[in-house]
C-alpha cells in the first residue's frame, strides 16, 4: 500500500490527519503492525534541541542617508561577514565578541534580537562615489531589519559521537566538560526523536521540505555541509525567518574554554507514505548506536572506547572497562519533545502542509578529511638531538656540571637501562644547595613525573603541553622510553624562520 502526499494533505486540511511523535511511533507499530500503522498514522513529527554551532542569519539593514557600503560590520561588537552587498551581512553563531570574547557571541546577538532586545550596528567603509559615507552607528530591533533570514549550514545531525577523556586533566570541549581518567561521558542528540534518525535513507527528507525551525516555519535547503549519511552522520542545511522565531526554541550558550554556540530547535514532519517510512520511524533509542570517543587524544582520528546506544546514554550510566561512568546530555530531550509536540499541533490544526522533497539527497554520500599539501610539522623535525643527560645514581654536583656543559636548564635523567626516569632542572639543583639534607644523588632531587613527547607527535600538540604545564622543555622518547632528544621553546622558534614559514 502507498499513501499519497496529496491524501495526507487533504486529511490535514480537513483536520482529520492522525499525527504522532517519533517517540510514540515505535509502540504504535508494535501494537498495530506495519500495515495498519501505515493506514492509521499520517504524519510522524520529530524534534531535536541542541547546540548547533553551524548556525547564523543573513540580514538586510536597509540603506542609510547618505548611503554607505558597509565593508566591516559589527552587531553588539560581534563581527559579521560583510562581503555580500552594500547593507547586508551574515552573522555566524560561533563568532566571538571583540570586547567580551566567547561569553558573548553571534548566538547571543541572535538570541537578543529574537528576545526583542535592541542591538548596536556599527559599520565601516572606504567610501565610494555611489556610497560616500564611511561610518555608521545605530541601534536596531529585529523588526527594523528588512530581512533577517536564518540559514544554518549544518543542523540536526542524525547522531553525534559521545565523548570521554582518558587523559590526566579536565578538558573543556565542544562536547562540554570532560573529567580526567574517563570520569564522565557527554553526548548530544535526541535519539528516537532525531529527524534524520527517523529517515536515514533520506526518502522523505530533502530540499524544500517544510520544517519547524526555532518556532518558525522553515524548510530544508538541502545537504548540510559535512553531511555524511553514508556513515550515519547525515545533517541538513536549514532556513527560516528569524523574525518569526521564538526565544523558547532559540538559545545562546557558551561552552567554557571553547566558544559561543546556538541551541536550535529543529523538527521535521515525516509523511507516512509507505511501509518504508513506517519502518524507519519505528526506530527506538536502543536501535541507534554511536561510538564513545576519547577526546584525551588530541588528534583527528580519536580512539573509540566502546560503542553504545542512545538508550545506554540516556540511562545515565555506562560501563567502561568494568567501571560505571555517568553520562550527561548537552541537548535537551524535554525541549526536543516540545518541538515535536508543537509541530504536531501545527499539522493537526492545518497550519502546516507537508511536501515531498523537490530534490532528493544522496543517502550514500560520505565526507573525507582535508587534503593537506604539507604535513603539520612533527617533533623529530625540530628537536635537539645532541642532548646531555645524566644517570640517576650520579651525584648532584655532576648534574650541575653537566647542566653547565650543555648550556641548558634541563637534564633528562636515565636509569641503568638507558630509560628516562626523571628530569632535573637548574631550579632543582638550587633547591638542593639550599636544603642539602634531601640526599646526595640525582634520584633524590629529580622530578619523577616527566611530561614528555614522541618524535612523531605534531609540534602543535607538544607546544600545547609546554604551555599547559608551564614548562620550557620536553624530553623526546621512543615507545620504550629511550631518550631521543629534547624539545625546547627555542626549538619552536625554528618553525618561524625556516622552511615551515609560508
Amino acid at each position: 500500500m502507498h499513501k499519497s502526499i496529496d491524501l495526507i494533505n487533504e486529511r490535514i486540511r480537513d483536520g482529520n490527519a492522525r499525527v504522532v511523535s517519533a517517540e510514540e511511533m515505535p509502540d504504535i507499530v508494535q501494537e498495530l503492525g506495519e500495515e495498519r500503522a501505515l493506514e492509521e498514522v499520517d504524519v510522524v513529527t520529530t524534534g531535536t534541541f541542541g547546540a548547533m554551532c553551524s548556525s547564523g542569519a543573513f540580514f538586510n539593514f536597509g540603506h542609510a542617508d547618505p548611503p554607505i557600503r558597509m565593508e566591516r560590520i559589527w552587531l553588539n561588537d560581534v563581527e559579521a561577514y560583510a562581503g555580500i552587498a552594500a547593507v547586508d551581512a551574515y552573522l555566524g553563531a560561533a563568532s566571538d565578541s571583540d570586547t567580551q570574547g566567547i561569553e558573548y557571541g553571534g548566538a547571543h546577538v541572535l538570541e537578543d534580537l529574537v528576545a526583542g532586545n535592541p542591538v548596536e550596528l556599527r559599520a565601516l567603509s572606504r567610501g565610494t562615489d555611489c556610497y560616500p559615507r564611511k561610518t555608521i552607528t545605530t541601534e536596531l530591533y529585529l523588526e527594523d531589519m528588512n530581512h533577517a533570514i536564518m540559514c544554518n549550514p549544518r543542523n540536526a545531525f542524525q547522531r553525534y559521537a559521545a565523548a570521554t577523556n582518558t587523559s590526566e586533566r579536565t578538558l573543556h570541549t565542544y562536547m562540554g566538560t570532560l573529567l580526567p581518567h574517563g570520569g564522565n561521558i557527554s553526548f548530544s542528540g535526541a535519539g528516537t526523536l532525531s529527524p534524520l534518525a527517523n529517515d536515514p535513507h533520506l526518502r522523505v527528507i530533502g530540499s524544500g521540505v517544510p520544517i519547524f525551525l526555532c518556532g518558525a516555519r522553515g524548510m530544508v535547503v538541502g545537504d548540510g555541509t559535512q553531511s555524511s549519511p553514508g556513515s550515519q552522520f547525515g545533517n541538513l542545511m536549514t532556513t527560516g525567518d528569524l523574525q518569526e522565531m521564538s526565544y523558547d526554541f532559540l538559545r545562546a550558550a557558551t561552552f567554557t574554554g571553547y566558544g559561543a554556540t546556538l541551541y536550535v530547535g529543529v523538527g521535521i514532519p515525516l509523511p507516512v507514505i509507505d511501509i518504508g517510512v513506517v519502518r524507519s520511524t519505528a526506530v527506538r533509542d536502543e536501535d541507534i548506536s554511536t561510538p564513545v570517543v576519547d577526546y584525551g587524544v588530541p588528534r583527528r582520528d580519536r580512539p573509540t572506547v566502546r560503542t553504545v546506544t542512545y538508550q545506554d546514554l540516556k540511562s545515565g550510566v555506562i560501563e567502561i572497562d568494568g567501571e560505571e561512568v555517568r553520562t550527561s546530555s548537552l541537548s535537551s530531550f524535554r525541549k526536543a519533545r516540545e518541538v515535536a509536540g508543537e509541530l504536531a499541533r501545527w499539522i493537526e490544526t492545518g497550519q502546516m502542509l507537508l511536501s515531498m522533497p523537490t530534490r532528493t539527497l544522496d543517502a550514500t554520500r560520505t565526507v573525507h578529511p582535508i587534503r593537506e599539501t604539507a604535513q603539520a610539522p612533527r617533533v623529530k623535525e625540530i628537536m635537539e638531538k645532541n642532548v646531555v643527560s645524566i644517570a640517576e645514581d650520579e651525584e648532584i654536583r655532576t648534574a650541575a656540571k653537566n647542566l653547565l656543559r650543555g648550556e641548558t636548564n634541563h637534564l633528562p635523567v636515565l636509569n641503568g637501562e638507558g630509560k628516562l626516569v626523571g628530569i632535573v632542572t637548574t631550579y632543582d639543583i638550587s633547591k638542593a644547595v639550599v636544603r642539602p639534607d634531601s640526599g646526595p644523588r640525582v634520584r633524590d632531587i629529580m622530578t619523577r613525573k616527566v611530561i614528555k613527547t614522541s618524535p612523531d607527535e605534531p609540534v602543535d600538540i607538544a607546544a600545547r603541553k609546554l604551555e599547559q604545564h608551564n614548562i620550557s622543555a620536553l624530553p623526546v622518547v621512543d615507545e620504550s622510553d629511550r631518550l631521543l632528544g629534547m624539545l625546547t621553546a627555542i626549538d619552536l622558534g625554528k618553525l618561524f624562520g625556516g622552511r615551515w614559514r609560508r
Binding site: F49, G50, A51, H172, G176, T177, L179, G183, N184, I185, S186, R251, A253, T254, F255, T256, T261, Y263, G316, V325, R326, T327, S328, S329, L330, S331, S332, F333, R334, K335, R337
Partner: protein
C-alpha cells in the same frame, strides 16, 4: 546538614575540628577544606540532630558557622534541562526526572563549582 565553618588562624593553629569532635563525640565528615596561613574555610557534614551541638562547640572555639541551604541555585529562565551538569557533579546533586526535567538535591552540594563551569546556559550559580 552541611555547615560552612570559617576561622582565623592569626591567634595560633587551634585544631577547631578535632577539638569539636573530641568535645562533642559527634563524627564529622569533612567534605571540602581550604586552609592557608591566616584563615580556614571547611565544609562539614553532620547528622541533623547534632548540628546545634557542633555549632555551639565550634563557635566556642572561635569559629564562625553558617548552615548551608540552597548552596547551588538554578535560574529556571536560563536552564533548558539538558543535563550537562549531571555527570560533572561529584555529589550527585542533579538528575533528570521521568519527564526529562532537571531536578536538584541542593542539600548535597559542597560548593565545588564544577557545574557552574559546565553549564552552557549560565543557569547555575553557587552561594558566595
Amino acid at each position: 546538614m552541611k555547615l560552612l565553618v570559617t576561622f582565623s588562624r592569626k591567634g595560633g593553629h587551634e585544631p577547631v575540628i578535632a577539638r569539636t569532635v573530641k568535645e562533642t563525640g559527634v563524627l564529622i565528615n569533612v567534605e571540602r577544606a581550604h586552609i592557608d596561613s591566616h584563615a580556614g574555610e571547611v565544609l562539614i557534614d553532620v547528622p541533623d540532630e547534632y548540628a546545634q551541638t557542633v555549632c555551639r562547640s565550634m563557635v566556642g572555639a572561635g569559629a564562625n558557622v553558617k548552615v548551608l541551604e540552597d548552596a547551588v541555585v538554578r535560574d529556571e529562565n536560563e536552564c533548558i534541562d539538558c543535563g550537562a551538569c549531571i555527570s560533572v557533579c561529584p555529589q550527585d546533586v542533579f538528575f533528570l526526572d521521568e519527564n526529562w526535567n532537571l531536578q536538584l538535591h541542593a542539600e548535597r552540594c559542597v560548593l565545588c563549582g564544577k557545574c557552574v563551569v559546565a553549564c552552557p546556559h549560565n543557569a547555575l550559580s553557587i552561594l558566595e
